[in-house]
Amino acid sequence: MSQESLAIKEIWQKNSITLGIKWSDNQEFLYDVRTLRALCPCAGCQAQRPANELLEQVRPKTITSVGSYALKIDFNDGHNTGIYSFEFLKDLGEQQKKQG
């Protein structure tokens, strides 16, 4: 890996539940937005995970960049305190790829 900091080249909505991100190293990963909600890194969710049955219907309303290091997702269940660092998302993508 180069020393260059991780950044996003492209970000797009693939379908109603899938987010696509092309990273600055040209790797592309797809993310299920419900998984992102389930893995919300905010303190509240760390303490208590959202119930599975609530997740099926959950979708983002907007996805916004935070500085040059993270995304903030405003979900339609009213939750918007999770800051998803690029690091975290990139790792998640790589893990998912390994698992196939």
Partner: protein, 283 residues
């Protein structure tokens, strides 16, 4: 309206506007009516959906149509600075918003290019990843001067199967080559229709003309778009921002053009990383 005999602004009282535009893309064609504006708007929306900041400059003095096609809010002006109209967060400026087309299209090439260049410079575009320029059709003085006046980073050619055989397209290709403007590729528009009876693609004028031409000149065929009434209607009503208006097959064809375009562009000019964006999720 701007008096065509007068320059839009004199340089002395023009405030320097701080714009930062990463890539200027010319959407050009050998002749009018082939879908240059339609492709410009489709590409703008595609790029917007991928998180890029996008503007369009409708420079087609012969038939400016983007104000209607995008239903953009009207631009505003403060002193010499023009603030672009907006359509789904895309900045839109059309020469038709500022100049009387009847007068503009009789201007000689360099004059017309000057008018367009001034219009371009007066606009507070802000920071854009892409500025798409809907070019005047053809390969005359205007197109030549315009490409020199603005630093065009890449051009995309729109053709139809009918005009593939014509000299105009070849002329356009060689014009950009002469100007050292890299060609991102060719979009073949209205090349087939999807039959409502058998659901097959029918190619009215034979298939693969665009690919052949692309191969001959070492260009990429970015994709073909069908002749589709929804595209005509979207153009008439300014509905391009609404994906639910198009069939999945049509969306797929549009997406292919956009993805190939980005792929080709990356070879010409590495895409910037996104610095700030908001993605609105469509349900």
């Amino acid at each position: 309206m701007v008096d065509m005999e007068q320059p839009l602004a004199t340089d002395t009282n023009t405030q320097p506007i701080k714009n930062k535009i990463h890539s200027i893309i010319a959407v050009a064609s050998g002749k009018g009516g082939v879908g240059k504006s339609t492709v410009s708007v489709l590409l703008a929306h595609f790029l917007k959906k991928r998180g890029y900041r996008v503007g369009i400059l409708d420079a087609d003095i012969y038939g400016p149509s983007l104000a209607l096609m995008t239903k953009a809010s009207p631009p505003s002006q403060e002193g010499n600075t023009i603030f672009p109209g907006k359509s789904s967060d895309i900045s839109v400026i059309s020469v038709g918003m500022f100049a009387d087309p009847n007068k503009a299209q009789v201007l000689r090439g360099p004059m017309a290019a000057n008018l367009l260049g001034q219009l371009y410079r007066q606009v507070a575009w802000g920071e854009l990843d892409f500025l798409i320029i809907d070019y005047p059709p053809g390969t005359g003085d205007i197109q030549l001067s315009l490409s020199q006046l603005l630093t065009v980073n890449a051009a995309l050619l729109v053709t139809t199967p009918q005009d593939l055989a014509l000299l105009d397209v070849r002329k356009a290709i060689s014009m950009f080559k002469t100007l050292n403007v890299p060609l991102a590729g060719i979009v073949e528009n209205m090349s087939y229709f999807t039959c409502s009876n058998c659901q097959e693609k029918h190619y009215l004028l034979g298939q693969g003309g665009g690919a052949k031409l692309a191969k001959e000149f070492g260009l990429c065929e970015l994709g073909s778009l069908p002749a589709n009434q929804d595209l005509t209607r979207a153009g008439d009503k300014g509905l391009f921002g609404d994906d639910s208006y198009f069939s999945p097959q049509l969306l797929e064809a549009i997406e292919k053009v956009g993805v190939s375009f980005l792929g080709e562009l990356a070879k010409i000019r590495p895409a910037p990383n996104l610095s700030s964006f908001t993605l609105n999720w469509r349900s």
